[in-house]
Amino acid sequence: MNISTDLYAYHNNLNRIPPGVKLSWGILTMILSLLSPSPIIPIMVAIIMSLTIVLVAGIPSRYYLKFISVPSAFGFLTLILMALFFGAEPSSIGFSWFRVYLDGLHTGFLTFSRIMGGFTCLAFISLTTPINEIFKQLEKIKVPRIIIEIALLMYRMIFIFLEEASTMYHAQETRLGYNSVKSSIKSLGLLASNLFIRSWLQGEKVYQAMETRCYNGEIPTMKIHETDNKWIILVIAFEITLLLGVYFTRTIKII
């Protein structure tokens, strides 16, 4: 069993671009999208990121649409809820207690656009950059080594347990373990406790395997390759343009 984001992170057309570049582009763009007081920039960001993901990185559009559908639906729901419940200026749309608020609609749409802008940046990072590369970049911003070591070990273990958990789940389904709420909680409880015990046994075995290879308390990571200046300049240029965009569109409202 595999997590699709992880699979694509290793198999996409942007594999050769240094992870630091992809990560900083994604995060800086994400921040600027959030800073924008107008929905224009977030929407542009969402479009640019989506096009990059599908056309440049080559993630199948069918998969990407499915991937983005959940946050889109959630964002849209937020828009509606905010328009209906979070406002002080009633509009002419609706009737007595069910009324669309203009300011609610405005906040809702802004939030919706930021969700789309931010989420597509997140999607860009997770679909183009393997998570272990991301964690290694964290060392540059002085995240303590022990966290990175544990996270990298955890990354590997997640996939081992995912496989086990899904097989156990199937084995329980075979014996009708999820037929009622009561049996579901019991089955899930048994699955979780079993997985917990196995995870500890696994921890012990992994420790033995590490000892076999002279583990001395530290888990070394390979040096990360230095980033090409060309990429840094490109990213900076993009972000400055975007920042200017944020500034000039600051007062524009769509709704």
Binding site: L34, L81, I115, G118, L122, I146, I158, F161, S199
Partner: protein, 205 residues
């Protein structure tokens, strides 16, 4: 209950990062201490974190029929105490954001605060308190996981209300709580029961 990427205005993102960071840093010093004493603690913490991740990606049928996800933080707090759990929860939240697109990066600070700090701290306090009151262990475990879940959900609602205080924080909080109560209360009960089953089975072995 994850706050999605892009949902919180930037001022609040910074605030929650600022509040969560010291706790995480303290948690890291605790982990370092443990790791220095026991070399096998790194793999053990890693497998525990992976376990919490898997648990939280399991679909859990709640009584209302909707599906949701257990957090596993109550269990973590009972087993490791709240500080180490906070760090593990923070790492798990990053994995969830990047692998499953649950939560986000700008909202990470806020999510760490509600799910990685408030949840475990209350779970742990409830657990210790219940044991002091001589409640049976299974009840203590249930209450800890349940309260941990409920407090996470109250905190999230409060965080959202602070960001969107319309017409004011109090009313907005209650609005958000109302919107989420439908899934979160049954989920809290389910997680409580689940944690009891897990805890009892672990003890049996």
């Amino acid at each position: 209950m994850h706050i999605m990427e892009g949902f919180l205005p930037w001022q609040w993102c910074i605030l929650w990062y600022a509040i969560s960071l010291p706790v995480i840093i303290y948690g890291i010093t605790r982990i370092k201490k443990v790791a220095d004493e026991l070399p096998e603690s790194k793999p053990l913490l890693a497998v525990s974190g992976a376990f919490i991740f898997i648990l939280s990606s399991l679909k859990m049928p709640s009584v209302t029929g909707s599906c949701s996800h257990p957090t596993g933080n109550g269990l973590g707090a009972i087993l490791f105490g709240p500080w180490i759990t906070s760090v593990m929860a923070a790492i798990v939240l990053i994995f969830q954001a990047l692998l499953l697109a649950h939560g986000g990066l700008t909202t990470l600070g806020a999510n760490i605060f509600s799910m990685g700090i408030i949840g475990p701290v209350f779970a742990w306090l409830t657990y210790k308190g219940s044991l002091k009151l001589n409640l049976p262990t299974s009840i203590a475990v249930f209450l800890a996981a349940f309260i941990g879940d409920v407090m996470t959900y109250v905190t999230t609602s409060f965080q959202l209300a602070l960001a969107f205080p319309i017409p004011n924080v109090m009313i907005a909080t209650s609005k958000f709580m109302l919107i989420f109560a439908y899934t979160q209360i049954p989920l809290g009960i389910a997680e409580g029961l689940l944690t009891v089953v897990v805890f009892e089975n672990i003890l049996k072995l």
